[in-house]
């Protein structure tokens, strides 16, 4: 039996350095890679939707309409475009953070993924609360 030598150089079994406290299984890595792929897919669809709305926006600009109505429509469309763009960007960033964090066994990068996911969920949550409010208003009127 070998005694523990306090003067021995650090071995691979020593405590991992900060930011490397994760050891994901192969199955776990596959799940996260697949999750990241679906998240990127959804963000791509958001970007496609954004492109469609921009196209619609250019058509609205060309169509003859009263000034005030045109302004309101333009404002709503611009808000939706902005919302879609930000949501898609946060979603893509979360996907990247999760994938990089799990593949490199780094909880700091994984934490960054959660930061982006939180931002995405807040933006989606506001939309969801508004939809719920409008539904309740529809019931009461």
């Amino acid at each position: 039996m070998q005694d523990h030598n306090p003067y021995a150089p650090p071995s691979p079994t020593a405590d991992p350095p900060e930011g490397r406290g994760l050891v994901f299984s192969e199955e776990g890595a596959l799940v996260v890679s697949s999750l990241a792929a679906w998240m990127r897919g959804l963000s791509t669809l958001y970007y496609v939707g954004l492109g469609g709305i921009v196209l619609l926006l250019s058509c609205t600009m060309l169509a003859p309409a009263p000034g005030a109505a045109k302004g309101v429509i333009l404002g709503i469309i611009l808000a939706v475009v902005l919302w879609l763009g930000v949501v898609a960007t946060w979603l893509r960033s979360a996907a990247g953070g999760f994938e990089r964090g799990v593949l490199s066994d780094d909880e700091i990068t994984l934490g960054q993924g959660f930061r982006s996911l939180r931002a995405y969920l807040i933006l989606t949550g506001i939309f969801s609360i508004l939809a719920f409010g409008f539904t309740i208003l529809g019931v009461s009127t």
Partner: protein, 135 residues
């Protein structure tokens, strides 16, 4: 079950907890909105059956839409509850994290499939309408 603890920073744990709270808010409000909308469209099962008789399978569309919304948001709710455990407990962090990721994958996967199916159906109906008008 993997009992490994993940050494997240306190700030990251707070963010994970906040993300899970928002996930729960989205899931609950979306399920409530879907159920209320369905009830508003058809006041009861009898009404729904009458609508199916009159309009055919198209009348089941709101029911299918509500069912998908509920399914997807139950996954989001489960994912959020698993992430909440990661933030609030120090046991089996990796197992909870993986469970959360699995449910979150289902949530995003169904959304992508539904959007692609909606785009496909729209294109199909547009081509169908164009072919009828062209005759």
């Amino acid at each position: 079950m993997d009992t490994r603890r993940i050494p997240f920073t306190e700030e990251d744990e707070r963010r994970i907890a906040s993300a899970s709270t928002w996930g729960i808010i989205i899931a609950v409000t979306s399920i409530a909105t879907a159920v209320i909308s369905l009830l508003m469209q058809s006041s009861g099962l009898y009404d729904l059956l009458v609508m199916v008789e009159r309009k055919g399978i198209v009348a089941l569309f709101p029911l299918g839409q509500a069912a998908v919304t509920v399914l997807v948001n139950v996954w989001l709710l489960q994912a959020s509850l698993a992430f909440r455990k990661v933030a609030h407990t120090d046991e089996a962090d990796q197992a909870h994290l993986l469970a959360g990721f699995r449910h979150l994958r289902g949530y995003f996967m169904v959304q992508v499939i539904v959007i692609l199916a909606a785009i496909g159906l729209s294109i199909f109906f547009m081509l169908f309408a164009a072919s009828i008008l062209g005759r």
